[in-house]
């Protein structure tokens, strides 16, 4: 197995799917001639041509609206949003059109649409370009929300997303592109809507996904040195949300910390905690603890920005609080 970056893994998935199915095409800002803001589609334009790697104006509503139309006519668009923060410009198209069409019109049409969106903070891009609004999109039935935390999952989940008949928001964390990991070559598929145990343990369950998986794994290493074995469950998909591994783990550890990069209020941690209380109340030995971003618009200043984002130490102290 090759040890490649998440950028390469995503690129590989796109390339392989475009080779496999001529209906798959890419559209977005700077995806063609420039090769993608994050260099994910470098070389695609020359190989697949301008028809299948389409540069668009800076108009997110147009990108998603156009992609929806393409999907309705039978193509398989992979639309790229340079940042998920711009998804708000296309919010109506995403949650009010794409998420609803299939069910609202009696299943007359399917919408095999993938929206790749780059999210997350920590790169000094200012409050309006640094958000992690994953939970907002996961709120809407009809829209699948996927957010991988490892290169292998990024490849497997993206390939599954492109082959899916449903509209999918595929969230890539900007600071994970350089992360390396073993990625199976060729046709590697990870099913959407399946959480997984990323690290086995017995003392506490850490539930997390995306960038925070990396943070949580580091915290678990430090905790292990103190004799605390954390089990980490990586959600991978927020909708559909697979709670089975979470509940199974919780019934063993009786304590949980949910780590997300977005804000705490009405967030992923709230949802996970509520479901634990609903499904495993008699196994609760301590209140579920949420680790999340400080509730302010994220500052530009590097030191302040890092202070606001969840850190390894935050996870460690949350774990100790529930133990």
């Amino acid at each position: 197995m090759a040890r490649i970056t998440m950028r390469e893994a995503i690129s590989q998935a796109l390339w392989e799917e475009m080779e496999r199915d001529p209906k798959v095409f890419i559209m977005g800002e700077e995806v063609g001639l420039w090769g993608g803001t994050y260099a994910v589609t470098k070389g695609f334009y020359d190989h697949f041509g301008a028809d299948r790697v389409r540069d668009t104006p800076i108009a997110e509503a147009a990108i998603i609206g156009g992609a929806i139309g393409a999907a309705l006519t039978g193509l398989r668009p992979v639309a790229e949003l340079m940042t998920i923060n711009f998804a708000f410009s296309a919010f109506d198209h995403i949650v009010n059109q794409a998420a609803k069409m299939h069910m609202m019109f009696g299943g007359q049409m399917v919408l095999p649409l993938v929206i790749r969106a780059v999210g997350g903070g920590g790169r000094q891009l200012g409050a309006t370009h640094s958000q992690t609004p994953d939970a907002i999109f996961a709120h809407f039935p009809g829209l699948k929300v996927v957010a991988p935390g490892t290169p292998a999952d990024a490849k497997g989940l993206l390939k599954a997303a492109i082959r899916s008949q449903d509209p999918i928001l595929f969230i890539e964390h900007a600071t994970l592109y350089q992360t390396r990991g073993e990625v199976p070559e060729g046709d590697y598929i990870v099913p959407i809507g399946k959480s997984t145990v990323a690290r086995p343990g017995k003392d506490v369950t850490i539930v997390t996904y995306s960038k925070m998986l990396e943070i949580s794994l580091k915290a678990a290493e430090t905790l292990a040195k103190e004799g605390i074995e954390a089990e980490i469950v990586d959600l991978r998909s927020l909708r559909p949300l697979d709670m089975d591994p979470v509940i199974e783990s919780f019934k063993k550890t009786n304590r949980a910390v949910v780590v997300e990069e977005g804000w705490k209020s009405f967030g992923v941690g709230s949802e996970i905690a509520a479901r634990i209380y609903e499904e495993a109340f008699d196994y609760v030995d301590a209140p579920v603890k949420r680790v999340a971003q400080t509730e302010v618009p994220l500052p530009y200043n590097h030191i302040l920005e890092q202070m606001m984002l969840p850190k390894v130490e935050d996870v460690i102290s949350a774990v100790k609080e529930v133990l």
Partner: protein, 439 residues
């Protein structure tokens, strides 16, 4: 027409009780006799039944409130009825009580309440769902700790919490279970060998036989109540004792004859006869069917016999009301039913309230005789031993007779030796001539 339910008086010395838990929510339907709430007295936790059917219009006191006897605690109304004049509770305001007093009709409509909206102080809702500690606080324990404790029959009040805010966690329960294994699995008591073959205790003095370690048993609620009341009685009441031996051959014979006529489940016990005999005797000795208050001696009009019932967790006295008026079979049936409820932990207020005299019978344990501690504020208690075949002297000759010894413990502040002795003599008149119990 709205009906007021008041704090019941569960015994002559009961001045107040703690309303531990409301069973019916406001707006909830109640039938006459349905359990409205649970009340804790210094004797037991008992259920309060509704004296009327309808809707529980209002709970007048909050959970955890100490309520004087006779104070209104609830209003039962007809469905849709609007109750204008709410009774005053006059309960001392505390943090919990203050919340209850806020519930004036102006502030809340019955409709809102029936929808289960409870916007009062958090103490109220916490107490409703959580367990209550002996000092009235809310017991903090994790759901997991509660479940493990329940599965292992462990009283969480005895467990020290080490979790956040003193919460009892799984670890605390597990430590407590290790410390008190016998409380959990009585069968595993060290003195009883686990092997089925070993029905006899292990021989003493066997070299190398393991000696069981000390066990530390938490003091259960009922145990501590018994302890407190008995210390009070033994320290404050000047007891004196009078013992008599009764010829119970005719009584045993009559019981045999009667029981031949009765189905298995309603056969009479020796104690049923003693209850009736004592009750009839007490009718002649009002000074022994009495209680002492601060300023006077109350000679009770009713003769209500308290019967000590042994429970796994201690002892409880159920009360056979007006036992002098009741036929033996009714006494037998009532006591049997109340004892069963007491053993099942489902005792009703009525079962344990109002005794004027008590009987403790250890006859079934092959006891020659014993002396009992008075159950305050009663004037006396009768301790009954076993009916035994003993040598007796009749007309200068030693013969086999059937005798039963009984000892009266009496309060010297109320009565004296001579009266107590006359009581024991008069009791003989019934016990030794059991036909008189039927008249």
């Amino acid at each position: 027409m709205a009906e007021i339910v008041a704090m019941p008086k569960l015994g002559f010395d009961m001045a107040e009780g703690t309303l531990v838990r409301w069973v019916i929510v406001e707006g909830g339907e109640v039938t006459k006799g349905a359990v409205l709430a649970e009340i804790e007295t210094d004797k037991a936790t008992v259920e309060v039944e509704s004296s009327a059917g309808g809707i529980l219009y209002r709970q007048l006191v909050a959970e955890g409130t100490i309520v004087p006897v006779g104070t209104p605690i609830a209003v039962i109304a007809a469905p849709g009825e609007e109750v204008k004049d709410m009774p005053e509770t006059g309960v001392e305001p505390g943090s919990v009580t203050a919340a209850a007093e806020k519930k004036t009709p102006d502030e809340k409509t019955p409709a809102a309440e029936s929808a289960g909206q409870k916007a009062e102080a958090p103490e109220v809702s916490t107490a409703q769902h959580g367990q209550v500690t002996p000092d009235g606080g809310v017991l903090r324990a994790s759901p997991l700790a509660r479940r493990i404790a329940q599965e292992n029959n462990l009283n969480l009040n005895q467990v020290t919490g080490t979790g956040p805010a003193g919460r009892i966690t799984r670890r605390d329960v597990e430590i407590a279970l290790q410390r008190a294994p016998a409380a959990v699995t009585p069968a595993a008591a060290p003195l009883r060998p686990a092997t089925a073959a070993a029905t006899l205790p292990a021989p003493s003095g066997m070299p190398g036989a393991p000696i069981p370690a000390d066990e530390h048993q938490p003091i259960e609620k009922l145990r501590s109540i018994i302890g407190r009341r008995m210390v009070e009685s033994k320290q404050q009441v000047p007891h004196f004792y009078v013992t008599s031996a009764y010829d119970v051959a005719p009584l045993m014979e009559m019981r045999k004859q009667i029981n031949l006529q009765l189905p298995e489940e309603s056969k009479l016990s020796v104690n049923d006869f003693i209850i009736k005999a004592a009750a009839l005797t007490l009718r002649q000795f009002p000074n022994i069917n009495a209680s002492l208050t601060d300023k006077e001696i109350v000679r009770h009009g009713h003769v209500n016999i308290g019967v000590a019932v042994a429970l796994d967790s201690g002892l409880m006295t159920v009360v056979c009301k007006d036992a002098d008026q009741k036929p033996l079979r009714l006494i037998g049936q009532e006591v049997r039913e109340m004892a069963a409820r007491a053993r099942a932990g489902k005792v009703r207020p009525d079962d344990i309230e109002g005794s004027t005299f008590s009987i403790s019978n250890l006859g079934m344990f092959d006891v020659e005789h014993f002396i009992a501690i008075i159950n305050p504020p009663e004037a006396a208690i009768l301790a009954v031993g076993s009916a035994q075949n003993v040598p007796v002297v009749i007309d200068g000759e030693v013969k086999v007779g059937m005798r039963m010894k009984a000892t009266l413990s009496a309060d010297h502040r109320i009565t004296d030796g001579a009266e107590a002795a006359r009581f024991m003599q008069a009791l003989a008149g019934f016990i030794e001539n059991p036909l008189r119990l039927m008249l």
